[in-house]
């Protein structure tokens, strides 16, 4: 046997990565709230654990295994399906569960990153890089994610709810496979912070609601002329929830929504984007094409009913 090398840059990097996993891993827990293998979670602040909503399949009888191997009961403080986050409170003493240290530097393309999990008793890791960083985006369930972070990193079974950690062991966000069909998505710390605050205060994340379902439709030139529409595409209303704000405001199935508060809409996401929590209780002006003519409807934005799961 030849003598192994002890030093070298590669060995030093390897030791650093293992130390980062060890440091951050103390805040990574296993959440027992589904049949198969446990999911991962992060101690976000003292006594508070954040996990991925889609992995928490029951509201009661939830256990959390800490890094020291002890399992303590937890209660569900709330869930936000739109960002796939759920918040749990540890019911027992939490000395064995230190909170994560957030990364202070912005995420950069090319940065080495570790995804951690605890789908059982041991912490697990995977290494990759940040492959793209973008601006704010909206999930298909309508949640706002502050920053788009794409990873070149393999995410394995049980990783959802675990943290994205930099080489210094600092946490940049929470990973989940529940927001995109093919790839893992990181919910950045800023978004987690905001959702945790709302869930702890209210048990849910409030969002504005009209009660309509729409789909894009190309506007024929004649209709554009008669209704005074500048855009080539509008949104045809395909459903109106009974007793919803839209119903009470007079929106009918078949109306073509052209603009919301004078801003043209061409995608259902445009309507979602205009319905933040701050709009609840305030009137919105909907310009619709009905019977070939433009009409203005005033609808008081309501609060979206709680999604069960």
């Amino acid at each position: 046997m030849s003598a192994p090398s002890n030093g070298g840059a590669l060995a030093a990097l390897s030791d650093n990565l293992a130390a980062a996993v060890e440091t951050a891993g103390r805040s990574v827990v296993a959440i027992h709230a589904r049949r198969r293998i446990p999911a991962s979670g992060v101690v976000w602040q003292s006594g508070v654990v954040v996990g991925a909503h889609h992995t928490i399949q029951r509201d009661d009888d939830i256990g959390i295994t800490l890094h020291d191997g002890t399992t303590v009961p937890a209660t569900l403080a709330g869930r936000d399906p739109s960002t796939d986050l759920a918040v749990l409170r540890l019911a027992g003493p939490a000395e064995g569960a230190p909170a994560v240290a957030p990364a202070s530097d912005p995420v950069r393309v090319g940065q080495l990153m570790l995804a951690l999990g605890r789908p059982g008793s041991a912490v697990t890791a995977s290494l990759g890089i940040v492959s793209a960083v973008g601006g704010e985006w909206r999930t298909w369930q309508g949640g706002t994610i502050d920053q788009f972070v794409r990873l070149d990193l393999s995410i394995y079974d049980g990783f959802s709810g675990g943290p994205l950690v930099n080489a210094g062991g600092r946490v940049a966000g929470i990973n989940t496979s529940g927001l995109a069909r093919a790839a893992a998505v990181t919910v950045p710390s800023r978004t987690v912070e905001r959702v945790v605050k709302q869930l702890l205060e209210r048990g849910h994340v409030a969002r504005g609601w009209l009660g309509i379902a729409t789909q894009p439709v190309r506007l024929p030139p004649a209709l554009r002329r008669s209704a005074g529409a500048e855009a080539e595409v509008g949104l045809v209303v395909v459903n109106v929830e009974p007793e919803s704000p839209a119903d009470r405001g007079g929106v009918l199935i078949g109306d073509v929504l052209l603009a919301l508060d004078d801003r043209p809409v061409a995608d259902p996401g445009d309507v979602m984007a205009a319905l933040g929590a701050e709009r609840i209780g305030r009137p919105a002006v909907l310009r619709v094409a009905r019977g070939g003519r433009a009409e203005q409807l005033s609808v008081t934005v309501g609060e979206r009913p709680r999604v069960r799961r």
Binding site: P4, S5, E22, T124
Partner: protein
């Protein structure tokens, strides 16, 4: 540490690993890897690679030798192959139970027939004391058929395990301490036991 140092280190470790990695051919049944475990000519590979008693082993220097299957344990997915040669470099080893999640790993093998291809990853979960695959080394690393039997080494170039299977995208390796047990229990560690007849 600079990126250039990292790259040079990685190249050196991969080269050292190449010098203890062999190709194991079982007739037309395909190609796997193997690790020179003992310098008197004992190669360790997977049981599922060494599927017949007579094997062709291609050494790191390109020589092709006839190998004789001297021990095989499908439960541990390990096989020992004796070579008719006296003195070749054996791989340095590390106990995979002592590795930590996040440590860098380098795998060498012949994925899909490409000889001596390297891949880089990290320890997903270290080996533990449990018997059977549930206790083996789990590596977050890209492997493919043909990596089987080849080494997975730590950042210091020490072999931590023998690549055995891919489960849920993870590379699963028989940890070095299980290989040591296998060598001891099957009695192939003795020079005479491994000598080709």
């Amino acid at each position: 540490m600079s990126a250039a140092e990292l790259a040079a280190d990685l190249a050196e470790i991969t080269e050292r690993l190449r010098r203890v990695t062999v190709q194991v051919r079982a007739g037309a049944r395909g190609l796997g890897g193997g690790v020179v475990w003992l310098r008197h000519g004992l190669v360790i590979t997977n049981a599922h690679v060494a599927a017949q008693p007579r094997l062709e082993v291609v050494l790191p220097d390109g020589r092709s030798l006839p190998g004789r299957l001297v021990a095989r344990d499908p439960r541990r997915d390990l096989a020992a192959v004796a070579l008719p040669t006296g003195d070749i470099s054996a791989a340095p080893r590390v106990d995979a139970r002592g590795l930590r999640a996040g440590e860098l790993l380098v795998a060498l093998g012949h994925p899909l027939g490409v000889a001596n291809a390297a891949s880089l990853g990290v320890v997903h979960r270290a080996a533990n004391g449990m018997s059977g695959p549930a206790g083996w080394l789990q590596a977050a690393i890209r492997l493919a058929p043909g990596n089987s039997g080849g080494p997975i080494a730590d950042a210091r170039g020490r072999v931590a395990g023998i690549s055995a299977m891919i489960v849920g995208g993870l590379g699963i390796a028989v940890p070095s301490h299980v290989v040591e047990q296998f060598v001891r229990e099957s009695g192939v560690g003795e020079r005479g036991g491994a000598r080709a007849a």
